[in-house]
């Protein structure tokens, strides 16, 4: 007894959709009829109208842009410095061992613990948030760059050396391209870490940004629907980032088959 291919493909979709719609429906009914207290849990249509309000007032766009800038600055620096550190560690064991405890320390504690100190040092503006994003993102990128380079087969490097390639040429023509998949995995990890610390940092103290909006609405008397909207915005942002970097990855590594 086996099911047809069609049923096989559709089953997860149908069951998943059913369970989600059921959930939404119960939520909507329970909330809008005040079976549960809607100021605590809100309900889907109320959240939709909060979304409309946030867009029309321009609040959402303005704060999203600020968060984007903070994230972009920190993350760009993390990519450049992370890859550079990773290459240095792969080339010299001495350098790696010298820096290892500091890296392990930064990787063990969640970076959010440094945010209050960063605020003391750099103020409550965007700089402290960008640096927090940088700190939490550059370590996984560096680690994955190192492992990526170490996993490249010796024969690649030897082949280039045989053609008289210089050290720089070997780095850029063999090591980095070969390590791309691993670096990209590190970047994907870094995205999640960066977003968490960004939002948490803005919630801790800031003048603007999505996190700031979240903390404003969390103390507002009827801010629950807005919080749901903002959560969705942040989730979408993370999703788009991951998607973007997968696209970049397949552009950078046309020799791999992507499924």
């Amino acid at each position: 007894m086996h099911r047809s291919l069609l049923a096989h493909r559709l089953a997860p979709l149908i069951v998943g959709l059913l369970s989600v719609s059921l959930f939404l429906l119960i939520w909507e009914i329970a909330g809008s009829t005040e079976t549960v207290r809607s100021e605590l849990v809100s309900y889907p249509t109320q959240i939709l109208s909060a979304f409309k309000r946030l867009i029309l007032s321009g609040e959402l766009a303005q704060n999203t842009l600020i968060s984007l800038r903070e994230f972009g600055e920190g993350f760009a620096a993390a990519i450049v410095i992370g890859i550079a550190c990773g290459v240095a560690f792969a080339l010299s064991r001495t350098i790696r061992y010298l820096f290892e405890p500091i890296f392990v320390a930064l990787y063990t504690a969640p970076i959010i613990v440094f945010v209050p100190v960063l605020v003391v040092w750099f103020g409550i503006g965007t700089t402290s948030k960008s640096i927090a994003v940088f700190l939490s993102a550059f370590i996984p990128i560096a680690i994955n760059t190192t492992t990526g380079i170490e996993e490249i087969s010796e024969s690649w490097v030897r082949a280039l050396r045989a053609f008289g390639a210089s050290r720089t040429q070997i780095i850029f023509k063999a090591m980095l391209p070969g390590a791309i998949p691993s670096i990209m995995a590190g970047i994907r990890l870094a995205i999640g870490r960066g977003i968490v610390v960004l939002i948490a940092g803005e919630m801790y103290v800031s003048m603007s940004g999505i996190g700031r909006l979240i903390s404003i609405y969390s103390v507002a008397p009827d801010g629950v629907p807005e919080i749901f909207v903002l959560v969705a915005v942040v989730a979408t942002f993370g999703y788009v980032c991951v998607l973007l970097f997968s696209l970049i990855e397949s552009g950078l590594t046309p020799w791999r088959s992507h499924s």
Binding site: H2, S4, L5, L6
Partner: protein
């Protein structure tokens, strides 16, 4: 009455396109007496493993039936122990724990379980390795653990799917002798799949020759060589004659089918 009866057994697998089916076995009939040693040869992909899986009831037949002592076989059970082609040891269990598995499932108390398992491990000469993990053993040793595991549940029928497939020629012969010795003592019914014609003749009371896919039993060759057998048998004229007969039967099937494994063509 035969102990094991395979009656008009057919099996279709789901085909590559949705809705289509692939006929792997086509009305197979076999009947096997208690204590008999039956060997099966056939071209690769003709359904030998499928037949054993059906007897073990790991698959359900599309039509036909398997009967053990006149009762339909519907679910797997320790009365028919299977020795897997790829050993299938649980990697996280030590050798002795692997052998104990079947006994554990039969709810044998742990002290007795250990004793039994050790007995069978000694039988396959692995007593010293009882606390090793499978990855620390050679292929031949792993295969012997698989055999000990199957014997330990004291099955009525032992199903062996190319149990020596992973071994080199030398060990293969030793293991064959070993199996004969065990069989002569324990008198289990054995169904033994192999692609080595010599092995099939040397071990079996009867050799079943199967056709290319869809698998059917095209001929049963009774082997009336005296027992106990030993390696010198291979040079006897009767032995060569049996080998010749089976080789000719198979050659036709292989030509029909295209490919025959190289190693058996050489043997």
């Amino acid at each position: 009455m035969a102990q094991l009866e395979v009656k008009d057994l057919s099996l279709s697998y789901p085909g590559s396109r949705s809705g289509s089916t692939f006929l792997a076995l086509d009305k197979v009939n076999v009947s096997i007496e208690k204590g008999e040693f039956v060997t099966i040869v056939g071209p690769s992909g003709c359904g030998k493993s499928t037949l054993l899986m059906l007897v073990a009831a790991l698959l359900r037949p599309t039509s036909g039936a398997v009967q053990l002592n006149q009762k339909d076989v519907t679910k797997p059970g320790p009365d028919r122990a299977l020795v897997f082609q790829d050993f299938a040891l649980l990697p996280w269990r030590t050798v002795i724990k692997n052998v104990e598995l079947g006994l554990e499932l039969k709810k044998v108390p742990s002290a007795q379980r250990r004793k039994e398992a050790l007995k069978y491990l000694d039988m396959v000469e692995l007593g010293k390795f009882c606390n090793h993990y499978p990855h620390q053993l050679s292929g031949g040793m792993r295969q012997r653990v698989g055999i000990a595991r199957a014997l330990s549940v004291d099955p009525e029928v032992l199903l062996m799917d190319e149990p020596f497939g992973a071994l080199d020629a030398q060990i293969r012969q030793v293991m064959g002798l070993e199996l004969l010795r065990i069989w002569e003592r324990e008198r289990k019914t054995i169904i033994f799949v192999t692609h080595d014609i010599d092995e099939a003749v040397y071990l079996g009371d009867r050799v079943l020759v199967m056709s290319a896919s869809p698998g059917r039993v095209i001929q049963e060759v009774k082997i009336s060589l005296p027992r106990p057998r030993d390696l010198s048998l291979r040079n006897k004229a009767e032995f060569t004659a049996y080998r010749e007969t089976i080789w000719n039967l198979l050659e036709k099937q292989v030509q029909a089918n295209g490919a025959w494994r190289q190693d058996s063509a050489l043997s």
